[in-house]
């Protein structure tokens, strides 16, 4: 079954980087620009993994994470938190909310792929398959 990755980040630049990063793999990538949109997308798509930015307008990553943990259908979804801030307090807060891993931006793509690969299967797309990532 094709895994679904939900990326939630207010930066279109980052969302585009993540789509490109996962395009060589068999996976569906959907994205959202803030926590509120992220919750709606998560409820609709039931992702296998969420890559979540910490600092966003409308609803930030920590608030979205708390809401996820309150939803019986989504509370077990693994989350990797992305942030430009590397403070220990932030790490402790999100660790208590069950974040599976934490990545400081700018991230190394190989490191993020390794972290994702520990949570969901990343199977390379066949070479003759159409390029690009599937999206809704």
């Amino acid at each position: 079954m094709t895994p679904t990755i939900l990326s939630v980040d207010d930066s279109q630049t980052v969302r585009r980087i993540l789509r490109r990063l996962f395009s060589p793999f068999v996976c569906d990538v959907c994205d959202a620009a803030n926590g509120e949109e992220g919750l709606a997308m998560a409820a609709q798509r039931k992702p296998d993994l969420i890559i979540l930015d910490h600092n966003m307008p409308v609803m930030d990553g920590v608030t979205m994470l708390r809401r996820l943990r309150e939803d019986p259908n989504l509370k077990r979804t693994p989350v990797i938190m992305l942030t430009a801030e590397a403070g220990c307090e932030n790490i402790a807060t999100v660790a208590r909310l069950g974040v599976r891993d934490y990545v400081t931006k700018p991230f190394r793509e190989d490191q993020l792929l390794a972290k994702v690969g520990r949570l969901i299967p990343l199977v390379p797309r066949p070479v003759d398959a159409s390029a690009g990532c599937q999206s809704p």
Partner: protein, 179 residues
């Protein structure tokens, strides 16, 4: 250079010197060198410039990280990020978004360095405007606004950088709350 605390303009400049080359190298794979001298300070880019600002807020101090960059640099960087296609074109909102994200990354590095010396602060969300002479007093994280600073409690460092043939300016401002 390892700071013990940020207490002077030169300390703040050192924060910039640690942050800018590292972020540009890690994010874009580009080398940045600090420009110096009167020419650097007075030279104006002929390209349209963008100004991105990220506010900082903490229990002891607040401030801003303000990045000015030419539109041409943003386009070059976007091509670098998205597969390096030289013919790739980008819409204006993508250019602005990139400027905001680069400023966000620099602000994160600045905040990390400040936290290392005990000055914890949170980042607000980036604001981007067109024009080099604009500082956006964005709303910091937590919804609070910085106190009006007195000159004695304000530090400002402005460093100018050369990267891939373009000039970037990083303007760091820290307002320390009076006790």
């Amino acid at each position: 250079m390892s700071l013990r605390r940020v207490s002077s303009v030169s300390d703040l400049a050192q924060v910039a010197r640690d942050a800018v080359p590292a972020v540009l190298r890690e994010f874009l794979g580009l080398a940045a060198t600090e420009a110096a001298g009167a020419d650097a300070a007075t030279a104006r880019s002929s390209d349209v410039e963008l100004c991105a600002t990220v506010p900082l807020a903490g229990p002891e101090a607040s401030g801003h990280v303000c990045l000015r960059l030419a539109r041409g640099f943003a386009l070059l960087a976007l091509r670098q990020l998205h597969g390096g296609s030289p013919s790739g074109s980008f819409e204006e909102h993508e250019v602005r978004d990139f400027a905001g994200e680069l400023c966000n990354l620099l602000a994160g590095r600045v905040a990390a360095e400040l936290a290392r010396v005990g000055e914890v602060c949170e980042l607000g969300v980036p604001e981007v405007v067109i024009g080099a002479d604009t500082l956006v007093a964005g709303r910091p994280a937590g919804g609070t606004t910085p106190s009006d600073p007195s000159p004695a409690s304000a530090l400002r460092s402005c460093t100018i950088w050369s990267c891939a043939g373009h000039r970037l300016t990083l303007d760091l401002r820290q307002y320390r709350r009076l006790t």
